[in-house]
C-alpha cells in the first residue's frame, strides 16, 4: 500500500514539502512573536523614522550634514564614508600587497625574509586589534596642531588628522572632464584598431604612447587652453586648529592603515601563489621561441599568474569592505557606526535599520561577485572544443 514511498521522485517531493512546512511554521511563529513584542514594547514600525530629525553631530562627512538633517541623510553620510574608506583602503592594499608579494619571491635573502615576517606578523593579529593599535598609536605620537608635521606647507599632519589641499573647480572645468572621457574612448578605439592590424598582419604596435597622448595630454591641453580653471584651497592654522583644505580624522587614518596593512598580507600571498603557479617550463618555452624577456612576462607569465591570483584578490577587496564596518569600534562615522549604531539607539527600530544596513553590504558583495564572475569568464582557458 505504501509502495509509492519507495519511488525516489515521490520521496523528493514529500521531503521538500516537509521542509517547506517547517520553514513556514518557524517563519509564521517568528513574525507572530515579532508583532506581539513590538506591540508590548511600544516600538514603532515602518520607515517614517528616515524623515525625522537626526539631532546629533557627525565629525566627518563628504555631503552636506547638520544636526537638523534627517536620518536618511545620516544613512547617506555613513554609506559614503564606508565607500571612501573602502576605496582608499583597496588602492593602498593593492599597492602594498603587490610590493610585498614580489618582495616575498625576491632572491635577496633579507628582502624575502622581511616580506615573510611582515605577512606572518600582520596576518595572525585580529584586524580589530590592529585598528585599535594604530588608533592608540596615532593619538599618542602625533603632535598638537601648533607643532604639526608639514610637507611643503600644503600637507599637515597632527593630532586632529591629516590636512590636504582641496582642489576647487571653477567654471569650465567640466570641459576638462569631457576631454578626459573623450580621451579614454579614443584610447579604446585606437587599441582595437591596432589589435585588428595585429590579427591581420601579425605586426605588433606598442600603443602606450598613443594611450598617454589621449588620456593625459588631451585633457591637459584643454585644461590650459581654457585658462586653468582650478585652484587649490590650502589648509592654514587659525587659532588652535586648521581651516580649509580636505581633512581626514585620525580615526580615518588608523582605519585605512589597519585595513590596508591587513588586506595586503592576503593580497601578497595571492600574488605569490599566482606567480609560483606558473610552471618554470613556460618561461623556458617562451624564451626558446625567441620572445624577449618583457614579451615573456607580458604575454606568457602574467596572464597565467593573474588567472590564479585575481579571484582571491577580489575576494580580499570584498573582505576589506566588510571589515571597514569595524570603524564602529574607534568612532569613525561609517554606515555601521552612525546608522546601525547611533540612529538605531535613538529610534530603537532594530529591524528596519539592520535590514537597510544589510541590504547595503549585500549589494556591495553582489556587485563584487558579479565583477569576479566577469573576470573569471574573461580569463577562462579557451579550449579547442568549447
Amino acid at each position: 500500500m505504501f509502495d509509492f514511498l519507495n519511488n525516489n521522485k515521490v520521496r523528493f517531493i514529500l521531503f521538500q514539502l516537509i521542509v517547506i512546512a517547517i520553514v513556514l511554521y518557524i517563519g509564521y511563529n517568528a513574525i507572530n512573536n515579532l508583532g506581539f513584542n513590538i506591540e508590548r514594547l511600544g516600538i514603532r514600525s515602518g520607515f517614517d523614522f528616515l524623515d525625522t530629525r537626526a539631532g546629533f553631530g557627525i565629525s566627518e562627512y563628504f555631503i552636506d550634514y547638520t544636526i537638523d538633517s534627517s536620518n536618511l541623510q545620516v544613512f547617506y553620510v555613513g554609506l559614503i564614508n564606508t565607500l571612501v574608506v573602502s576605496v582608499i583602503g583597496i588602492i593602498l592594499a593593492s599597492i602594498l600587497g603587490l610590493i610585498i608579494g614580489i618582495a616575498r619571491l625576491s632572491k635577496n635573502y633579507l628582502i624575502s625574509r622581511l616580506a615573510n615576517a611582515y605577512i606572518e606578523l600582520f596576518r595572525n593579529i585580529p584586524i580589530l586589534l590592529q585598528i585599535l593599535f594604530w588608533y592608540n598609536l596615532a593619538l599618542s605620537v602625533l603632535p598638537s596642531p601648533r607643532n604639526s608635521m608639514a610637507l611643503f606647507d600644503a600637507i599637515f599632519l597632527n593630532l586632529r588628522g591629516i590636512y590636504l589641499p582641496k582642489p576647487i573647480a571653477e567654471d569650465g572645468f567640466i570641459w576638462v572632464f569631457v576631454a578626459l572621457i573623450v580621451g579614454i574612448v579614443a584610447m579604446f578605439i585606437n587599441k582595437r584598431r591596432f589589435a585588428k592590424k595585429r590579427d591581420e598582419t601579425g605586426i605588433r604596435t606598442n600603443t602606450i604612447g598613443y594611450s598617454l597622448l589621449f588620456v593625459i595630454a588631451l585633457p591637459s591641453v584643454v585644461y590650459f587652453a581654457i585658462g586653468a580653471p582650478m585652484h587649490f584651497d590650502y589648509p592654514s592654522l587659525q587659532g588652535f586648529n586648521f581651516k580649509g583644505g580636505i581633512a581626514f580624522s585620525p580615526e580615518f587614518l588608523a582605519l585605512v592603515l589597519a585595513l590596508s596593512i591587513y588586506a595586503a598580507t592576503y593580497i601578497a600571498e595571492a600574488i605569490r601563489s599566482g606567480i609560483e603557479s606558473v610552471d618554470q617550463g613556460q618561461t623556458e618555452a617562451a624564451l626558446a621561441m625567441g620572445l624577449s624577456y618583457t614579451q615573456t612576462l607580458k604575454l606568457v607569465l602574467l596572464p597565467q599568474a593573474f588567472r590564479v591570483a585575481i579571484p582571491p584578490i577580489i575576494n580580499q577587496y570584498l573582505n576589506l569592505t566588510k571589515n571597514s564596518s569595524l570603524a564602529a569600534a574607534i568612532g569613525y562615522a561609517d554606515l555601521v557606526g552612525v546608522f546601525a549604531g547611533t540612529v538605531l539607539n535613538q529610534v530603537g527600530q532594530a529591524i528596519e535599520v539592520l535590514l537597510m544596513t544589510m541590504a547595503v553590504y549585500l549589494t556591495i558583495s553582489l556587485i563584487i561577485s558579479l565583477i569576479l564572475n566577469i573576470v573569471n569568464h574573461r580569463m577562462r582557458i579557451i579550449g579547442l572544443n568549447p
Binding site: 622581511l114 593599535f133 569600534a329 556591495i364
Partner: protein, 365 residues
Amino acid sequence: MSTFKLKTAKPAPLSQVGVTGWLMQNLFSSKLNTAFSFIAIYLLYLIIPPLLDWMIFSADFTSATNNECTREAACWSYIGFKINLFMYGMYPSEEYWRPNLLLIITVAFGIIARLLKGNRYKNKVILSLFFIYPFIAFFLLYGSETLGIAVVETHRWGGLMLTIVVASVGIVASFPIGIALALGRQSTMKIIKFLSVFCIEFIRGIPLIIILFMASVMLPLFFISDIDFDKLLRALIGITMFQSVYIAEVIRGGLQAVPKGQYEAADAAGLNFVQKMALVILPQALKISIPNIVGSFIALFKDTTLVLIIGLFDMLAIAKLATSDADWLGRKTEGIVFVAIVIWVILFLMSQYSKTLEKRFNTEH
C-alpha cells in the same frame, strides 16, 4: 721518466664558499640586489632597535605603581598586576580552579586520544569523550545548583577564557549545520538547494559585526520574551550562524574533490543516501577539508575579538578598559601589545599545525 703528479685542487674562491660566499650570492649578487639589501638593513635599523628598546631594554618589569613606572617605555608590571583579568575576566578568583581544571581535562583527553592510536576501540572511546566533554565543560564553567557547584553568571566570564569558549563552541556547533548546508547545496532537490544557497550567500555577504548586532538586538524580538536570552548565548548564536556558512563552503570543496566514481560505486552497491554519505563520501570529503577547517577555525579565532562590540569582555575589551582604570592610566598600549602577542602566538602555532596537517594528508604522488 717523468711521472704524473696530481696537483692539489685550488680552494674555491672566497666569493663562493663560507659566510662571504653566502653573503655574495644572497645579498650582493648584483648592483640592484646590493641596493635592496641596504634598504632592508636600513628598514630593520629603523624598526628593530626602538621596538626592542620599548619592549625590553628600557621597559619596566618591577614597579609596583603606575607613577613609579617609566613613561618612555613599556610598563610590564601593569600586565603582571592584571594578568588574572586578562585570563579570566571578572570570574571570581576563588573559582579559578574550575577553568584550570577544564584545561587539564582537555589536555588529558587529547593525550588519551593520542595513546589509543591503533587500538580497536579508539573511535568509540573518542566519540564518547567527545559527547561527555561539553557537559563537563558546562558544569565546570557555569556551575549547577544540583551538583553543588556555585553558579558563575556568564556576564562575569571574560579574557582569554571567553575567547576560547566562544571560538570552541562556535566551531563545534557550526560543524553539523555546515555539513547539512553543504549537502543541501549539492542536492538535486531544487527547494533544498535554493534554501541552502540563500542562507550561505546571504550570511557570507554581511560583515560579522552586523550579524552580532542582529543576534543581540533583533533575535530576542522573534521570541516570546519569557525566555531570558543570555548575552553570551546571543553572541554564540551569531558566531555559529556566521561560522556555519564558511564551514559549509569548506566542506563543499571537500565534497567536490571526492571522485565521481565513489558516488556511483556507493549507489551501485545499493547504499541509501544516509549510508552513502556517512560511510563513503563524508569520511573522504572531511579528510580532504581538514586543513581548510583548521584555517577556518583560525579565522574564527581572530573574529571572536569582535564580541567586544556587543559588550562582552574578551581580552581586547579588557585591554581597552585600561583607559578607565584610575590606578593605571595611560597603559592602553601595553595591554593591546600584550593581547596581540598572546593571540599571535596561539594563531601562529595553529597555522603551523595546519601546514603539517596539509602535508600529512597530501596523498598525491
